[in-house]
Symmetry: C2
Subunit: 778 residues, 2 copies
C-alpha cells in the first residue's frame, strides 16, 4: 500500500536522487500504463544495493493503484529544482542524465541487467504502442442521416415572427434563374437590376418605410426580407440594401414628413433609383472630416455642392456608376462662411435616359473581388446647384431669414443623430452575414455526408463527415451560426423597436448610443465570423469548393467585403471600446465611494465564487456545457479587459501623454476588449432567446449548439483564462474533450440542422449539395 | 517598513477578514497606482476601531514600495478560500460583499466617513482615469521611410545562389502587359498561353530537365524560376508548373533515359503541350485507389486505357480542357488479370489542330474562384489503345515475354517511389505561396505608409502604419514571410540535392521519405499562412483592397486553392504525423532499455533545464527574443504531442480498436502534431540560414524578424505552453509586450523590408502601392 509518508522519504534520500527526474517524467504526463509502472517497480525494487527504506519509497512512487497527487508531484519537482539549483548551470544537465547513465554505466554491471529487463519490458510495450502505423483505409461506419429531432419545428423557431415574409422571399429565390456566376460585368449588372425590379413589383420595397409606404409597425419585416434574400445572390442583396435601406433610409430617417411623403413612394417602386454618397476616397471611415461642401447661396435659396479636391471624390458608391438617378450626398454645410457639419442632400445625378446632370462626373470603380453585379462608382461635383428642398431637413434647415437652424443644438449630438441612419445598415449586414454562413455550411455539410475521400466502389470509405477533423471544421462554425442567428434576431428586434418612432409624423429619435455600439459590435463579430466560415467551408469541399458552380467561390468573394463596408471592423471595434470606456467612467460618477466599493467587491466576488479552487478545476460535463459558466467567464473577461484598458490609459495620461496618444498606444487592447464584449453580447442574446423557448426537443438541440459555441469561444481564448487562473490546465483539457463529445453527438443532427435553415434548393444550386449519400456518383 | 511577518498577521486576525477580498482584488491585477494605495492606507489606518496590530498589518499590505510576493498573494487567496469554504455556498457571496457593506453599513457611521474619504480620493483618480474619452483625431507623428539598413544587401541574401535566374524572370515580369484581371475566361486563357510561349522561347523551360535539356546540376534553378514567376500572374505560374513541372516532371522522373531524350526537348520548347492526369473526381487525395485502368494486351503489345465509371473521370486537370495534346495518365496497370498498382502512361489526347483522339472525351471544369487563366478540365477514356512505349518505364516495364517486371519488387515501395514525382510540386507550391505572400505584403505595407484614414488636408492624421493594430496585422506576417522564405529555400536545396541523381543516366532514387514528409509539412504550413496573409492584406487595404486593379482580389482568389491542390493540407498533415509516429517507433527499436532511458532522461532534462522556475518566469527581452528559447519551446511541444499521440493510439489499441479506428479517433491530435512539427522545421531551417550569414546589419534585421516570428508562433499556442507550465502567465504577458516593442522597432524598416523582396513594379501594378506618402492624392 502506498503511503504519502513512504513517498516523501524519497525526497530526502540522496541514494534515490538519480530516480527523481525519471519518476517525475513517468507521472507528469500520465501516459504510462499500470503494467509498465508495475514492471519497472518490481525490477527496480530487486536491485540489491537499495536500502529497504529506499525500496519502500520507490515502490510507493510506482504504485499504479495510488498515483501521486498534484501536490506530491509539485514537491517532487521542487526537490529536483532545489537539487539542480545547487549544481552549476552546466552541470544541471548531468542530474537529468543520471537516470540514463545509471542504466548504462559500466561500473554497475551487476544491477544493470535487472534494470534493463524492466526497461526492456517497457520497451516492448512502447514499441507495440507506437505502431503499427495504419494506412488510409478506414472501416465502414455510417453517418446516420435522419435528424434526431423535428426539423420543421426548429425551422419555425428560426423563422420567428416574420415567417410569412421569409416564405415570400424564399419563393422568389427558389428559381434557377436567380443564380449568376462567371458572367461579364455588364450582363451581371443587368441581371441584378432585373431581379430588383421584380422584387419592387412584388411590393417588397414598400415595407422599407413603415408609416409612409407600409402599415408595418417597424423595420422588422424589411430587415427580415434583407436577411432572407442573402440566401441568394449577394450582389442582389447589396443592391436591394442600397436602394431601399441606404438611399431610401436616408430620406426616411433624415427627411421631413413632407419629403418622405413626396419621395419614398417612388423609391419603394423603383421609379426613383438612388445611391448613398457618403464615403470619399480620402475618408472611408472618417465621415466627420469628409470634404465635399454644400454652400448655401442666400440670393437663390439654393445649395452649391462641390468636390474641392481629389480626396473628396465620392467612391465605392453602389449604383453611382450606372443605375442611380439620384444620390443622397453627404457634405459639409456652409452658411455665410460658417460650417455646420455634415448634412445630407438629395442631388439628381442623371436624367431618366442616364445622361449625367450638369456638373456631375461619374466613374466606374471597376472590377472587384466580388459583388460585380453592383455598379460601384465614383462621383465628382463641380459646383452643382440644388434647390433648398434638397436638404434632408428633419434635423436641420435654413430658416426664412437664411439662417441655419436645428432642433439639436449640440453639433456633435446632431452629427451622431444623423449618423444613426447607418445603424440599420449595420444591423442588416450582420443579418445577411449570418445568412451567408448558413448557405456555405449547408453546402459543405451536405457534401460531407456523400463524399467519401478514401476507398473505392467495392470498399467505400467513410464519408467526410465521419472524420473528426472535418467535424471540427464545420460543427463549431455551425453552432456559432446558430448563436449568431439569435443574436442578430435580438439586435434586429431592438433596432426595430427603437426606430418604430419613425413610423409616426414628426418623429425625433431618443438616445440610441447603446444600440449603435451593439450594432457595431455584432456587425464586426458576425462578418469576421462569416468570412472565416465561408472559407472554411470552401476548403472543406476541396477542389469541388473551388468550382464556381458550387457557389462557395462567390460566397467567399462577396462576403469578404462585409468586414470592410458599413464600417471597417477594426474601426468599429475601436468605437465599441470607447463606448464601453465611457460607460465604465459613468459607473464611477455615482455617489462616490459606494461605486468603488461595489466595484472592488464584485472583483472579490469573482475571486471567491468563480476563481476558487473548486470552480477552476471543475471538469464535469454538466458544468462545462453550462451556459451560466460560459457567460460568467465571458463577463469576467470583458470586465477584466475593461478595467485594465482604463488602467493603461490612466497610467499613460499620468505620464503626460495626451488622450489621443494614450488611446493609440492601447489600441490593440481596445480591439480585444470590444471583441470580448461582442462575444459576451452575442451569447447573452442567445441566452435570452433560449429563455423564451419552451423546454423540449427543439430547445435541447439548440442548447447543445449553444454549449459547443460557448466552449469553442472559451477555448479560442484559453490563454487568457489560463493566465488569469480562471481555469486550471486540467479544465482547459476537459473543455477540449467535452467539445469532442459534442462534435460526435452533433454528427447525426448535422444535416437536419442545415436543413432547418430553410434555404431554397435553387440557392444551394451547388451540385455537391445534392449528391446522394446512398449512391454517390463520385 | 512592510515586513512579511506583519503581513502574515492579517491572515489570522478575524477583525481584518472583511478586508481580505479587497486587498486581494487591489493587488492581484497590479493596476492600482502607488498614490491610490497610499491614500487608501492612510485613511483605513485612521479608523479608530482597529487594533494596533491590525493597523500595522494593513499598512504592510498597502505599502506601495513593498508589494506582496506571489507567494503572499497566493496565501491571501488561500485564506479567502478557506474562510469562504466554511460558509454555506449561498453565503459565500456575503464575504465578498463585506468590504462593500462595510463602507455603506448604517451602524458604522462613525467610521464610514473616514473610509469614505479614502475611497472618494480613489474615486477621483479613477474618474479622471477612465476619461476623457478622446475622439479619433490623432497628433501628427510621422513614419520614417528611410530603411535603417542596406536594402540591396538584404535583397542579395534573399536572392541567394540563383540571383541571375531571378533577374531574368523579373525582367520578363516587369511589363504591364503581364497583368490581367476581370477578363472573360477565353481571353484570359489565351493571354496566359502567350506568356508561356514567350517563356519557352526564352529557354526557361530547358532548365526543368537537368542532364537532358540543360547543364544545370539539379532542379534548383527551375524551382527558383517558378518561385520568382509567382510575383506575377498566378495562372501563369500554375500553367508553367503543369507543363514543365508536372507533365515534363512525370517524364523526367518516371521515364527511361530513352523516353526522356525523345520527349523532353519538345516539352521544354512547348512543341509538346501536356497535362498531368492523376486526380479523379472520386479520388482527389486517394491516388492508391484511383480507378482508371490500363490493361496490357499481349497480342498487340499495347495498353488499353479505360475509365470504368464516372468516379474515375480525371478531373481538375490543368490544360485538359483545351491546350494539352498529351496527358500523363495515372492508371491501375493490369497484366494478365493481375493488378500491379498505379503506373503512368503517356497518352495523346488531341492532335495539333486540337481535335480529340479517338475514345478520348474532354470537358471543361468551368468557372473557378480564381486561376481562370488555367484551362482545368475533365478526361474520360473509352478503351483508348496506346503502344507499349506509352508506359513511363523507369520503374516498371513489360518484358519480352509479356510479363510485368520492376527493379522495385515491393509494390508499396514502388508506388511511393513513383509518387516521389509529386514532391517537386509540393516544394514548388510552397515556394510560390511564400512569393504570393510577399507581393500582398508589399502592396499593403506601401499603401499603409501613404494612406491617412483620419483627418483632412489641413490636419492630416497618422498613416495607417503608425496604428498599432495595423502593425499587428502586417508585421508578424511579414516576419513569417521572411522565415518561410528561408525555410522553403532550405527545402528547395535539399530537394535539388536529393534529385540531382536524375541528371545522370540510369538514375534510381534513394530513400526520400524524410524529404517527402518535410515537403508535405512545409507545403501545408506555408500555403495556409499565405491564405491568411493575403486576406489580412486585403482587409488591411479596406475598400481599395477590394478593387481588382489593386491585385489583392486575384491574390486571394488564386492562392486560395494552394491549400487544396498538390495535396489537401488536412490530408498532408495526417501523412506527416504518420511519418513522425513511424520515426518515434523506430527510436525505440534500438538496443533496448537505453533508448527508453534516454527518452525519459530527455524529458527530465526539459523539466530541469527548461521547465524550471527560473526559466518559466524569465521575462527579459534578450531571452524572449532568443531563437534558442523559441526552438527549445517548439521542440518541447512537438515531442510532447508526439508522445501523447503515441500514448493515445496505444491506449485505443489496448481497448481492441483496430489501428484505423484508433488513428481516426486521434485525427485532430495528429493534425496538431504535424503542424507543430512544421513550425519547428521552418524555424530550424531559418536558423540554419542565419548561422551561415556573416554577422552585421543584414543579419541583425533578419534576427529581429526571426524574433517576432518566434514570439508570434509561441503566443499563437500560448494555451498549450501555459497548460504545460512551460511558461508562467507573467512570461506569456511579457511575450506580448516584447512583440509590441518589436512591432514598434520594425515600423521604420517596413518599407525597406518589402522593397528587399525585389518585386518588379509591374507586379505591384496596384495603384495603391505607389501613392506618394509625402503628397497623398487621397
Amino acid at each position: 500500500m502506498a503511503t504519502p509518508s513512504a513517498r516523501s522519504a524519497l525526497l530526502e534520500d540522496p541514494q534515490l536522487r538519480p530516480f527523481l527526474p525519471l519518476l517525475y517524467a513517468a507521472w507528469s504526463d500520465g501516459d504510462m500504463e499500470p503494467d509498465e509502472l508495475r514492471a519497472v517497480c518490481e525490477h527496480i525494487q530487486a536491485m540489491p544495493w537499495l536500502r529497504p527504506a529506499a525500496r519502500l519509497s520507490l515502490g510507493a512512487w510506482l504504485d499504479p493503484t495510488s498515483p501521486p497527487s498534484q501536490r506530491e508531484l509539485r514537491a517532487l519537482l521542487d526537490t529536483i529544482e532545489r537539487v539542480a539549483g545547487t549544481l552549476a548551470p552546466d552541470r544541471r544537465r548531468d542530474l537529468a542524465e543520471l537516470g540514463a547513465s545509471l542504466a548504462t554505466a559500466e561500473g554497475e554491471s551487476e544491477i544493470a541487467p535487472e534494470f534493463a529487463n524492466a526497461i526492456a519490458e517497457l520497451d516492448a510495450r512502447l514499441g507495440a504502442s507506437a505502431g503499427p502505423i495504419p494506412g488510409e483505409a478506414a472501416p465502414e461506419r455510417g453517418v446516420t442521416k435522419g435528424a434526431p429531432f423535428d426539423v420543421a419545428a426548429l425551422s419555425r423557431v428560426l423563422d420567428g415572427e416574420h415567417a410569412e415574409v421569409r416564405a415570400e422571399v424564399r419563393a422568389f429565390l427558389d428559381d434557377a434563374e436567380k443564380r449568376a456566376y462567371g458572367l461579364p460585368t455588364p450582363e451581371y449588372r443587368e441581371k441584378v437590376m432585373g431581379w430588383i425590379r421584380e422584387l419592387a413589383s412584388k411590393g417588397l420595397g414598400l415595407r422599407a418605410f413603415p408609416g409612409v409606404t407600409s402599415k408595418e409597425p417597424d423595420l422588422g419585416a424589411f430587415i427580415t426580407t434583407f436577411e432572407t434574400l442573402a440566401m441568394g445572390d449577394l450582389s442582389l442583396v447589396v443592391k436591394f440594401g442600397v436602394q431601399f435601406g441606404l438611399f431610401g433610409g436616408s430620406i426616411y430617417f433624415l427627411g421631413t414628413d413632407a419629403q418622405r411623403a413626396a419621395i419614398l413612394p417612388k423609391v419603394a417602386t423603383l421609379e426613383t433609383v438612388g445611391c448613398f454618397a457618403m464615403s470619399e476616397v480620402g475618408h472611408g471611415s472618417d465621415v466627420q472630416n469628409l470634404e465635399t461642401v454644400a454652400t448655401w447661396e442666400a440670393e437663390t435659396r439654393s445649395f452649391v455642392v462641390h468636390t474641392p479636391r481629389e480626396s473628396a471624390r465620392k467612391d465605392w458608391i453602389g449604383g453611382a456608376a450606372q443605375s442611380a438617378r439620384f444620390a443622397t450626398v453627404f457634405a459639409q454645410l456652409e452658411v455665410e462662411g460658417d460650417r455646420h457639419g455634415v448634412h445630407a442632400f438629395l442631388v439628381p445625378i442623371r436624367n431618366n435616359e442616364g445622361v449625367l446632370a450638369e456638373g456631375v462626373r461619374a466613374g466606374d470603380a471597376g472590377h472587384k473581388m466580388g459583388l460585380n453585379g453592383v455598379d460601384n462608382g465614383r462621383l465628382w461635383f463641380d459646383h452643382v446647384r440644388v434647390p433648398e428642398s434638397a436638404l434632408l431637413a428633419r434635423f436641420a434647415k435654413i430658416d426664412e431669414a437664411g439662417a441655419y437652424t436645428s432642433p439639436i443644438t449640440n453639433p456633435s449630438r446632431r452629427f451622431f443623430t444623423m449618423l444613426g441612419a447607418l445603424v440599420g445598415g449595420r444591423v442588416s449586414v450582420a443579418s445577411a452575414a449570418v445568412t451567408a454562413s448558413k448557405v456555405a455550411l449547408a453546402i459543405a455539410v451536405r457534401y460531407a455526408t456523400a463524399r467519401r475521400p478514401f476507398g473505392g466502389p467495392d470498399a467505400p470509405g467513410l464519408p467526410l463527415l465521419a472524420y473528426p477533423t472535418h467535424g471540427r471544421r464545420l460543427f463549431p462554425r455551425l453552432a456559432t451560426a446558430y448563436v449568431h442567428h439569435f443574436a442578430v434576431a435580438g439586435l434586429r428586434a431592438r433596432f426595430a423597436k427603437s426606430t418604430s418612432v419613425f413610423a409616426s409624423a414628426n418623429a425625433m429619435p431618443g438616445d440610441t448610443r447603446e444600440l449603435e455600439a451593439q450594432a457595431a459590435a455584432l456587425k464586426a463579430l458576425t462578418t469576421a465570423q462569416t468570412v472565416d466560415t465561408v472559407h472554411a467551408c470552401r476548403e472543406a469541399c476541396g477542389g469541388q469548393g473551388y468550382l464556381s458552380v458550387n457557389r462557395l467561390p462567390d460566397l467567399c468573394a462577396d462576403a469578404e467585403v462585409f468586414t470592410t463596408f458599413e464600417g471597417d471592423n477594426t474601426i468599429l471595434l475601436q468605437l465599441v471600446a470607447k463606448s464601453l470606456l465611457s460607460g465604465y467612467k459613468r459607473r464611477f460618477e455615482g455617489p462616490g465611494y459606494r461605486a468603488i466599493a461595489r466595484h472592488l467587491a464584485e472583483r472579490a466576488r469573482v475571486a471567491v465564487t468563480e476563481k476558487n479552487p473548486v470552480a477552476v478545476r471543475r471538469t464535469d460535463g454538466t458544468h462545462l456545457r453550462d451556459r451560466a459558466f460560459h457567460l460568467a467567464a465571458l463577463r469576467f473577461r470583458e470586465e477584466h479587459m475593461l478595467e485594465t484598458a482604463a488602467a493603461r490609459i490612466r497610467s499613460r495620461l499620468a505620464k503626460k501623454l495626451d488622450s489621443a496618444e494614450a488611446m493609440l498606444e492601447v489600441q490593440e487592447h481596445l480591439g480585444s476588449l470590444a471583441k470580448a464584449h461582442a462575444e459576451r453580447l452575442a451569447l447573452e442574446l442567445f441566452d435570452e432567446a433560449m429563455a423564451a423557448l419552451a423546454p423540449g426537443e427543439t430547445r435541447d438541440v439548440l442548447e447543445k449548439l449553444g454549449a459547443l459555441h460557448g466552449i469553442t469561444t472559451l477555448r479560442a481564448d484559453a490563454s487568457f483564462f489560463l493566465s488569469q487562473r480562471y481555469f486550471e490546465p486540467e479544465k482547459g483539457r476537459s473543455l477540449h474533450h467535452e467539445s469532442e463529445l459534442l462534435l460526435r453527438e452533433l454528427r447525426e443532427a448535422a444535416v437536419g440542422l442545415v436543413d432547418a435553415f430553410g434555404i431554397p434548393d435553387a440557392c444551394l444550386a451547388a451540385p455537391i449539395a445534392f449528391m446522394d449519400p446512398a449512391h454517390p456518383t463520385w
